[in-house]
Symmetry: C2
Subunit: 501 residues, 2 copies
């Protein structure tokens, strides 16, 4: 007989590069974001939840002559020919909203946004194609007081979620100072901003490689170029030694106090109008922060901060966690950056033609949560419910009444709803759920008006390490009157909480 | 001279059928979902946040021979040829997760999920292509105790968010009873379930039209067919009059008590095994609920509940709000359904080949929020921050110190960061932000160590209706010592709260 072909079954798989979040993964992230939102709220920022889908046109970045956007975003074509796409960050949608609702929104418009963004990138270990961002931006404020405020708020947010002072530092720099340095180094001509763009690109990339190549490697890239170990040659920016020293000096300009750092920067950019303006802005930021008590234990001026810098036009900032964790090979290393941002004055202009000053910060939600776990401030398993076991299938109504009473007292509780035949499976279920307590009532207990209360937390401890004496003195299961069940369960839960590590 | 063509600017527009949520729209929905989550948590449900993107294959519903899924979902093809899509509900992803992680998840698996879903449908007024769902499901529990639990939880959730008892009703029915009715009516043959599928479809659609067509219209559709006013003829199911009366009797089977309703249903399905099983299940559900105190003021058996019924295989339920609101023409009408669900035992089977019993409920987030607004339990504007105005641009550090102090006292506050030249603009801004208080300190006040505190709430009230005497006796602006600023602001805010409508 010919075998009948079975219908093909779909694969039960999260798409490549995506993931699902269960239990505590969801609640801990939510608790962290709630705390951050409370800080943002106190600073006068309003929530905005823009649509996850944007027109590709509004997202920008894509060439109009390419048939299909080829990288970076998930996009699809509508039947009417329009291209739609999932947002890849929360800043591009903000620019669209600020332009679209410019007549209705207050000026300045302070908003925060939290939610998933999507990147159509090759997934890798720990690199996902959907992840959370948490942003706060001020649109329409030209004053660097707005930048200072964002830095102070970032500092408050980190402490509020549980990163103690001393375990983080917010570092501030200014893109204008860097432009001043470029001018002094001869690779920026204020009269012709497009000139030397190629050389400036090389200088920026060289600065970004300081960590990896060291000062000598950077110096080579600023000058004639550099041959790496493999023999490959990287073209240099062609600066003279004097010019290169200006750039090198910029990266090393941080001094013990903000005032001294600014003095040093002022020397380096002497003669450049944009550079001097940048230093003056840094001084204002430092003054404003210090007037509010944000000293160098929380926020410092640091010229070595060079964020991608793509669209930044003024102050840039970065929050770094300064404690050490062990890397995958067990070596201690600094945790590193968890948030960054800066001033970008040209994003809204794409839509309206008018420049709108804006500044903001984005917190890397997954990295900050990982940091809290590394510090032991998150990462607990979700506390499971009290499980009322089912000894007698026909008395389900009694068991339901028990959980009803427990819930009315605010206690998380459920009846075992699987097949009750095998009692061992019920206890295995309670274990899998991380349940603190199981309630047992068979026909005998029901007749006597009592329940058995099984302390699963204590039971686990005893199983792990207790002696026979302790076992006897601390029974992990005891009998209580049915009428006292809620009180006894409440007492046990409070006790577990007290003895929690 | 030839005009230089300007580069084309993108349109600043939310894509058609999508929308952005501002301020209170975000916080009120969040507050409502937080309350619901707390109820779900207390019932032992764990959160799950699955990826927003699924393989089209896992979502199902689409024909394998169609080149591109043509309707319902937003989908796109990856470079490797796979099709991905945005989830259109939270149940399909749950089925995928339950299959994928079946060896790791507890059985039964109780989970809740809240988040946006996307539908590629023609947008219309009040119909959006991205909206929130809020689901709770129990996977792996065959017992109708799981269905009863979901109904109780739904009732608790509605009361917890602010729908008082008496303003809602949860109605319960059972698909098996309907199948029994079909059997008795001669359009279901248990030995050949595929037979009469066409007739059953007509019966189902007829039942669904009771509201619109009335009993006579439905009776016609159950029999030979029906000609509507336009003259169009709709084919009937071809039932005899006796058969049709069974179906009509089913829709009208609700009695004053659950027990009486069940007796009536038992008469109607006499002789049908599946029908009798369904009635027994309804009896069990009613018993379990009544043991927990959920009487007919909250949850009733109602055979007229016929939800889409597509994939439901057992109990179905629906929560309806029973108070009246005015429709767009000013006529009173019942608010209607805000949540629904039921038992679906075949969804996980698609992936694994094994039937997995499951039951769950989905709350219509936008509709429930609209109901809370209709009841005056939501819909306030977001309270704005205290605004510290800028009288003297050079004293920004002083103003920042003021907001710093206010925030430390837990008071939402900000410095005006727009161009401070025009003081009127600062007050207009405060108005747009719904600010309760403005703080003013010019050079004169600074020299005397005082601030002006302007009560914007009182000011608005006075402007609206106060007499000159009231104006004088309740000054909307007063002077306070700089050192007392925080105390005075706190006092005013508490007072505003007390006198809020």
């Amino acid at each position: 007989m010919a075998k009948i072909q079975k219908p093909r079954r779909p694969k039960a798989e999260t798409p490549k590069g995506f993931r699902d979040y269960f239990g505590a993964d969801v609640t801990e992230r939510k608790a962290m974001l709630d705390k951050i939102a409370e800080v943002y709220h106190r600073y006068g920022f309003d929530p905005l939840e823009s649509s996850a889908v944007e027109t590709l046109d509004a997202l920008g970045k894509y060439l109009p002559d390419v048939d299909r956007p080829n990288a970076g975003v998930f996009a699809w074509q509508e039947e009417d020919g329009d291209w739609l796409a999932l947002r890849y960050d929360l800043t591009a949608p903000l620019a669209r909203v600020a332009a679209q609702f410019r007549n209705d929104l207050p000026t300045p418009y302070r908003r925060y946004a939290m939610g998933p963004v999507w990147r159509n990138e090759k997934p890798g270990p720990g690199r996902f194609r959907q992840f959370y961002q948490c942003d706060a931006d001020t649109v329409g404020a030209a004053s660097v007081a707005a930048d200072a405020e964002i830095c102070a708020m970032l500092s408050d947010a980190l402490e509020t979620v549980g990163i103690p002072r001393g375990d983080y530092i917010v570092r501030v720099n200014n893109r204008k100072v860097l432009n001043g340095v470029m001018e002094v180094a001869g690779v920026l001509d204020p009269a012709d901003p497009e000139k030397f763009a190629h050389e400036r690109g090389i200088v920026l990339r060289a600065i970004d490689k300081l960590d990896r190549l060291g000062p000598e490697g950077v110096r080579a890239l600023l000058g004639k170029g550099r041959k790496d170990e493999s023999g490959d040659f990287t073209e240099g920016a062609g600066l003279s030694q004097d010019q290169a020293e200006v750039v090198m000096g910029f990266m090393a300009a941080r001094r013990d106090t903000g005032a001294d750092t600014c003095s040093r920067l002022r020397e380096l950019v002497a003669g450049s109008r944009i550079g001097e303006e940048g230093v003056a802005e840094l001084e204002t930021i430092a003054d404003l922060l210090s007037a509010q008590g944000y000293g160098p234990d929380r926020i410092v001026l640091d010229p070595s901060v060079v964020r991608g810098l793509g669209y930044y036009t003024g102050p840039v900032f970065e929050a770094e966690l300064t404690f050490e964790i062990l890397d995958e090979k067990g070596r201690p290393r600094q945790f590193g950056s968890v948030a960054g941002g800066g001033r970008y004055d040209d994003l809204v202009k794409r839509f309206t033609g008018q420049a709108v000053p804006a500044t903001g910060v984005s917190i890397g939600v997954d990295r900050l949560l990982a940091a809290l776990r590394a510090k032991g401030r998150a990462g607990d398993r979700l506390q499971g419910p009290v499980i009322v076991t089912v000894m007698d299938r026909d008395r389900m109504a009694d068991y339901q009444a028990m959980v009803g009473e427990l819930r009315s007292a605010g206690i998380r509780a459920e009846v075992y709803l699987g097949n009750p035949k095998n009692f061992g499976n019920q206890l295995k279920y309670a274990d899998k759920r991380n349940s603190p307590i199981a309630i047992i009532q068979g026909a005998d207990e029901a007749a006597r008006g009592v329940v058995q209360i099984k302390d699963l937390v204590l039971g686990a401890k005893i199983a792990e390490r207790a002696s026979l004496e302790e076992w006897k003195s601390q029974p992990a299961q005891f009998e209580a009157a049915r009428a006292d069940m809620v009180t006894e369960v409440g007492r046990l839960l409070a006790q577990d909480k007290d003895t929690a590590p």
